[in-house]
């Protein structure tokens, strides 16, 4: 379970351009669920995900992750958590140009000091899973958008994370590739991963894999539009 207690994030505090991006968010997210953060541009989705993913610290408030409080942890422990607990999928993929697809996928595992042959096998297996194994030795700049996204997902999974964080994963994909992404996410959900997605793409938030939609507005949770959303509920809506 991931619990956020009164989390605030203020950028440029005490300066003229002070901005409250996340404003007193309290939430409980269940393990093994798919949660979508939805809201207009600038509503704080990316900021909130970066707080949960230990990439930034809140200005105030606490976040409990799988029983451990993470906002007070020294940096050394955060590195470890980021590496082992989270797999990140970004809007712009953030693949590293100039090296091969396979190297990109293996990169997050290098600090763990695993045997290279074992690591390579696992990376190739992941690429195979997402149908890009034939591109393993291509440089990433030659990939199409859909391929790049699948490579990015393979990279996010290389350290066997229990939580996947995806920020606007369909922003650079056409609708066919977006549906393909939903199927990949469904597979990850079946593997009992916890999935957090920021998205304003209906293909994502209307999909039947989503357990909960959190609506953000001006850094706050918009209560009126938030609630558990079950598959049954969704099918009822579709049936009408």
């Amino acid at each position: 379970m991931i619990t956020l207690a009164n989390v605030r994030k203020i950028f440029n505090q005490a300066r003229p351009n002070e901005y409250t991006a996340v404003d007193g968010v309290s939430l409980q997210l269940e393990e093994h669920d798919v949660t979508v953060f939805k809201g207009p541009s600038g509503s704080g989705k990316t900021t909130l995900l970066s707080l949960v993913g230990c990439m930034a610290r809140p200005t105030s408030g606490r976040i409990h992750l799988l029983g451990r409080e993470i906002t007070s942890l020294p940096e050394r422990f955060l590195t470890e958590i980021r590496r082992k607990t989270f797999g990140f999928i970004f809007q712009q993929f953030h693949l590293i140009k100039g090296i091969s697809v396979l190297d990109n996928v293996m990169l997050p595992a290098y600090p763990c000091g695993e045997r290279l042959s074992v690591l390579k096998e696992r990376a190739l297996h992941l690429l195979d899973l997402f149908n890009v194994s034939q591109k393993a030795h291509t440089r990433v700049e030659w990939l199409s958008g859909g391929e790049a996204q699948r490579v990015a997902i393979a990279r996010a999974l290389i350290n066997g994370p229990s939580i996947i964080i995806a920020d606007e994963p369909t922003a650079h994909l056409d609708s066919m590739h977006s549906h393909e992404l939903v199927e990949i996410l469904r597979g990850l959900k079946n593997d009992r991963k916890t999935i957090l997605i920021a998205s304003h793409d209906p293909i994502i938030y209307d999909s039947d894999i989503v357990d909960k939609v959190v609506h953000l507005r001006d850094g706050k949770v918009d209560e009126g539009d938030t609630g558990p959303r079950t598959r049954g509920h969704l099918q009822l809506l579709k049936g009408r």
Binding site: A5, R8, R57, S60, T71, S72, P74, E75
Partner: protein, 332 residues
């Protein structure tokens, strides 16, 4: 005041140290008063982040402090040519009443700062700042000492007039007078040598057994403290005499000079290093059962015990080598 580059360096560095310690102590007070890890308040989160800066500052400050003790002794020793009557640091420290208190305080802070760094090391390794309040309480005790030391040192250098006639170490550390130093110098040699070797033996034995089994940490630490004091007395009582090969010369400072291959620095580094790491074992004892430290402190203590043993063995080896090969025979 004498304008010597090292004196200016020492005074300016002391001033910086004091400013940085005062800054750290300011946050230390806030931490001791307001720290609450359970709270998610903005103030608490600011303090949590601030501790990294403070910890980094203090590591450098105390790191410098460890050097400053030796720079002070070295500078004072170099100055003996300026003063009529002085032959080494002993006489120069005596030119006014601030010299020896500054040295004593520097040694005390050296040990205290070393122990603080050990506690800080352990605390920084845990995930929940388990001994942060104790750590900053210790810092608040240390702060006035450091400031006093800066003032004493400034007083010492400012009131240093080149025309002062001072006494030489020969008279300061000679037998048969009624001062503390001469009483130390007149201690009987054989019982002192026995006490010295017994304390070293016990230290090494307890240290190795602590390294193996992790038991009797307090006993080991207290033994180290006693062995440290006995060693200091031994330097005046008989160790220096073997180096000078003069049965009446007991000065603990002349061994720092070139004629004796600067051996004094090695002796004192070994002794202080052994004392700090050995006493560090005991300082960590009360915290070893804190949940987030159970995986950290025992291994740190074992390492410290081993380091202390190595330092004391080096010290004993240097001393023994000299006793065996010296042309002077005190005990036949």
């Amino acid at each position: 005041m004498i304008f010597h580059p090292a004196i200016i360096a020492l005074c300016v560095a002391s001033l910086f140290i004091c400013l940085m310690i005062a800054y750290s102590a300011y946050y230390g007070i806030k931490i001791v008063k307001g720290w609450d890890i359970k709270s998610g308040s903005e103030q608490q989160l600011v303090l949590e982040r601030r501790t990294y800066l403070i910890s980094a500052i203090l590591t450098y400050v105390f790191g410098f402090y460890l050097i400053s003790l030796f720079l002070y002794v070295f500078t004072v020793d170099r100055l003996h040519i300026v003063f009529t009557g002085a032959m080494c640091a002993a006489g120069v420290l005596k030119v006014n009443s601030y010299g020896y208190p500054t040295l004593l305080l520097k040694i005390m802070i050296f040990i205290f700062a070393g122990l603080w760094l050990i506690v800080n090391y352990a605390d920084n390794r845990a995930y929940d700042y388990p001994i942060i309040k104790t750590k900053y309480l210790l810092l608040l005790i240390l702060t006035p000492l450091v400031i006093t030391e800066m003032i004493l040192q400034a007083g010492y250098f400012l009131q240093m007039h080149p025309n002062i006639i001072t006494s030489c170490c020969g008279s300061l550390f000679s037998e048969g007078k009624s001062s503390l130093t001469s009483e130390l110098a007149s201690l009987p040699v054989v019982p002192m040598e026995v006490a010295f070797y017994l304390s070293m033996l016990l230290t090494v034995y307890l240290g190795i057994s602590f390294h193996r089994k992790g038991e009797k940490g307090y006993l080991f630490s207290v033994t180290v403290a006693i062995a440290f004091l006995i060693s200091l007395v031994s330097i005046i009582s008989f160790i220096s005499v073997y180096y000078y090969e003069l049965p009446t010369h007991h000065c603990p400072f002349c061994i720092l000079q070139k004629e004796y291959g600067y051996i004094g620095y090695f002796l004192y580094v070994a002794l202080l290093g052994g004392a700090v790491s050995g006493m560090g074992v005991g300082v960590l004892m009360p915290f070893r059962n804190i949940e987030s430290l159970t995986g950290i402190i025992p291994s740190t203590q074992r390492k410290l015990a081993l380091i202390a043993v190595v330092f004391f063995l080096i010290f004993t080896a240097l001393v023994t080598y000299r006793i065996v090969f010296s042309n002077l025979v005190l005990v036949s």
